[in-house]
């Protein structure tokens, strides 16, 4: 017989050991699957993935930039998740943020000085993201609507909105493509720091990580978020205005997603497409979850996912394997990482026939 009991707090070294063991096991399973399904040497495949992520200076910059954007979105979702408000609308909030930035670049590109333009883009995209998350928040606060569905549906509205404006601004006519905005004037493009394309984005997200950590851990707002997350009734009892906390927190969550949209449009791609968010609004859910909503650990989980993604691309080119194969490996590794949490939270007892107990 097997029975399961909940553990008390497990000491950190032991918890870390379990996690490392899980990762090691997942790599073994991945290795077996790689060898069986492709006939390749798993160690070579792992080596190629590492080369794909770190092989050149450029690859490292790309890796850091991708981590930064994904982390930014995860940071955005965190305050809402801590409050147990399931914001699945990250994708849409990024999209409207991107749309607002692109609109400023297209409509004001040649009318205002660059510094002012970038400031306007920042304000517009942050506001757009905040509105997109604020609408479901208000409905939740007022009428207790289901935020999961509402935020999810807002993604589709955002996608269609972007699709509409892509047609408004498309070049050439009918192509459904905007292309790089202000390619000749570079109006609204973020400046390059010290000649590095992606450094500014990375620094901004690093600062944001610290700020979010401080906000959640040391501010009164952060405390209120935790209390509402634990129990709305308790929060009400101690005099916290729950409705207000919900709306305020979601405005913040959406604003940071909008900021991610700004980074994508102003900082890197300089264009607008319906796929510019690239699924990050959803991937970030996992980033935040894996890190138990701890901003510092989120940097590590973002790294893991981006590393796996870039590595998957590398093996698809090097060995002619489909991208999906890399996704399979990622899935296996995540399965083990998430699965091991069970053994950290619970203790499994195997009782032998005589009732003798073994750990």
């Amino acid at each position: 017989m097997i029975h399961i009991t909940k553990r008390k707090e497990m000491p950190l070294p032991q918890a870390l050991a379990i996690r490392l063991l899980a990762i090691a096991l997942s790599l073994v399973v991945c290795g077996v699957i790689t060898a069986v399904m492709t006939g390749l040497n798993p160690l070579d495949v792992y080596g190629t993935m590492i080369k794909g992520a770190f092989g050149t200076q450029r690859k490292i910059w790309i890796l850091l930039q991708e981590i930064a954007i994904l982390l930014c979105v995860a940071l955005a979702l965190t305050p809402a998740f801590r409050m147990k408000f399931w914001n699945l609308g990250g994708e849409g909030q990024i999209l409207v943020g991107s749309l607002a930035s692109a609109a400023c670049m297209i409509c004001l590109g040649d009318k205002v000085p660059n510094a002012l333009l970038i400031l306007l883009m920042a304000v517009a995209s942050v506001a757009a993201g905040a509105v997109w998350a604020g609408i479901p928040a208000i409905f939740k606060a007022r009428w207790n609507t289901n935020e999961t569905l509402f935020t999810l549906m807002m993604n589709y509205v955002a996608t269609q909105l972007v699709a509409y404006f892509v047609i408004v601004w498309e070049v050439p006519k009918g192509s459904g493509n905007i292309g790089i905005i202000n390619q000749s004037t570079e109006a609204g493009w973020f400046p390059q720091l010290f000649g590095y394309k992606y450094l500014l984005n990375i620094i901004l997200v690093a600062l944001l990580t610290v700020a979010m950590h401080v906000y959640l851990t040391y501010s009164k707002h952060g405390y209120e978020i935790s209390v509402v997350g634990e129990s709305a009734s308790t929060a009400r009892y101690v005099g916290i205005k729950v409705d207000r906390v919900i709306v305020r927190t979601l405005l913040l969550s959406g604003a940071v997603c909008g900021f991610a949209g700004l980074l994508l449009v102003g900082g890197t791609s300089h264009t607008l497409t319906t796929t510019i968010a690239g699924g990050r609004g959803f991937t970030a859910v996992m980033v935040a979850w894996l890190a138990k909503f701890n901003p510092a650990i989120m940097a590590a989980s973002s790294f893991l996912l981006v590393f796996m993604g870039n590595g998957a691309g590398e093996i698809s080119t090097a060995y002619g394997l489909n991208h999906s194969f890399g996704d399979i490996l990622t899935g296996i590794i995540l399965f083990f990482i998430i699965g091991c949490e069970f053994f950290i939270s619970y203790k499994v007892h195997f009782a032998k026939k005589e009732g003798e107990r073994v750990v």
């Binding site: 050439p172 192509s175 890197t268 264009t271 996992m286 080119t317 990622t330 399965f335």
Partner: protein, 435 residues
């Protein structure tokens, strides 16, 4: 150029719940849309230094699951085989979105020693230009793009093929089929009617369906055609629904310009003949597939490779033709095609090649000019074109800049490789133009 991902993602994401396990499923399904990176197989070779062999890269929007990308990948591998390029000296990066990722991919290929880099999707163009400016010693070749002739860069080039000739020939096969149906009294209406599922109202699509229509019209002069648009280059559901709608609207035959199996499948289910694109769909549609036109990219890859190896300049705009074998028809499916189709196609093809037939012969179609339709056109009393200012130099205002009517026909793909025929001609009825 292709919006596969948003549709695919939409579906997947929708079913996700909230648990960590669901989040797991999400990442496992590849929601993150990451770009491929690579260069592993190639060792930092010395072949380039010898001037005899170079490294070549190809950037693809999706992977071989898309018929569009598959057509490029097959052409690329075929050309590499013909040229004898060693396996480690060419690299393919798949699933590269139309954003900064394309620039990154191009730069990584250049870092890996590639001196010739291709990209396959329209939306890659600006990022290829960005990379071309940064790596002047590397040649960048972009298929379907429009800006090479106005950018003025020595190392940035566009390419396309005169696929309108292939479409015209496919249209001839369609016309033959309609004639056969008419002779057998099997038309749905009094006059033959075709349906066409297009992606966007972009010139590439307009040029394609118009040439197809004119090919059919050369056989059955009273034919008309309905066109519907999906707003995506790859949307299986929308393409299937579009074809079904056209069939319900009385179409006797369907063709399409979009990259999924949606329209061919709808035709097979309804027993309506289909003229396909990108490659043969006969395996899935043995009873209804007639013929398909496709662009064969291998000649371009070979041409560009030879140019780089021999130190010659690559054409700013390269247009493959029937003569270069860039425009191809697949094998005709005798089970669905009308008798004598192959002979007729051979006859018309010979006419196109010797210049006795022009696809966009102004005498073969009429155009209506109104305040918001065909505004850049001038017609004579019969409605035949006498002048058209096409938007050849891409600009945000879509301004017509080049006279393309001369010698009695519309000169397609001559002033740049990508198509610019975007007139709405009589006999073709656009059902929706939202895209």
């Amino acid at each position: 150029m292709k919006n596969l991902e948003d549709m695919m993602l939409g579906r997947r994401q929708f079913v996700l719940g909230l648990s960590g396990a669901a989040a797991l499923a999400l990442a496992a399904c590849g929601g993150s849309g990451d770009s491929g990176t690579d260069e592993g197989a190639a060792d930092a070779g010395d072949a380039a230094a010898e001037g005899t062999a170079i490294k070549v890269g190809l950037i693809c929007l999706h992977d071989e699951n898309s018929t569009y990308d598959l057509n490029f990948i097959n052409g690329f591998k075929e050309a590499m085989g013909t040229l004898g390029v060693a396996e480690g000296d060419y690299m393919i990066k798949t699933n590269i979105p139309e954003g900064q990722e394309c620039y990154d991919a191009a730069a990584e290929l250049a870092d890996a020693g590639c001196t010739l880099i291709f990209a396959d999707s329209f939306g890659h163009e600006d990022y290829m230009i960005q990379a071309a400016k940064e790596f002047p010693e590397v040649q960048f070749c972009h298929a379907t793009g429009t800006k090479a002739h106005t950018e003025g860069l020595d190392n940035y080039h566009n390419a396309f093929a005169s696929i309108y000739e292939g479409r015209f020939l496919a249209g001839v096969a369609a016309g033959m089929k309609l004639q056969e149906l008419a002779d057998a009294g099997q038309l749905k209406g009094a006059a033959p009617k075709m349906g066409y599922v297009g992606a966007f109202t972009y010139a590439e699509v307009v040029s394609g369906y118009t040439s197809f229509f004119l090919g059919a019209k050369s056989i059955v002069p009273d034919v008309t055609m309905d066109v519907t648009f999906t707003g995506s280059w790859y949307d299986e559901t929308a393409e299937k629904e579009g074809a079904t709608k056209l069939i319900a609207g009385g179409a006797d035959l369907i063709s399409q310009h979009a990259d999924s199996m949606g329209a061919p499948t709808a035709c097979e289910n309804a027993g309506i003949p289909n003229v396909s694109y990108n490659g043969s769909t006969v395996d899935a549609c043995p009873n209804t597939f007639i013929v398909s036109s496709r662009i064969n990219w291998a000649p371009y890859y070979e041409y560009a490779y030879d140019c780089v190896v021999n130190g010659n300049a690559i054409d700013v705009d390269w247009t493959g033709t029937l003569a270069t074998d860039s425009v191809q028809l697949t094998e005709i499916n005798e089970a669905a095609a009308a008798a004598g189709t192959a002979d007729k196609i051979a006859e018309v093809k010979a006419g196109l090649e010797d210049g006795s037939i022009h696809v966009f012969d102004t005498a073969s179609f009429t155009v209506e000019v109104t305040a918001d339709k065909n505004v850049n056109a001038t017609v004579d009393g019969n409605g035949n074109l006498t002048s058209y200012m096409a938007d050849v130099d891409t600009d945000a205002a879509y301004e017509g800049d080049t006279e393309v009517i001369a010698d009695g026909f519309f000169h397609e793909s001559e002033y740049r490789s990508a198509p610019y025929f975007d007139l709405q001609i009589d006999g073709i009825n656009l059902l929706d133009t939202a895209f």
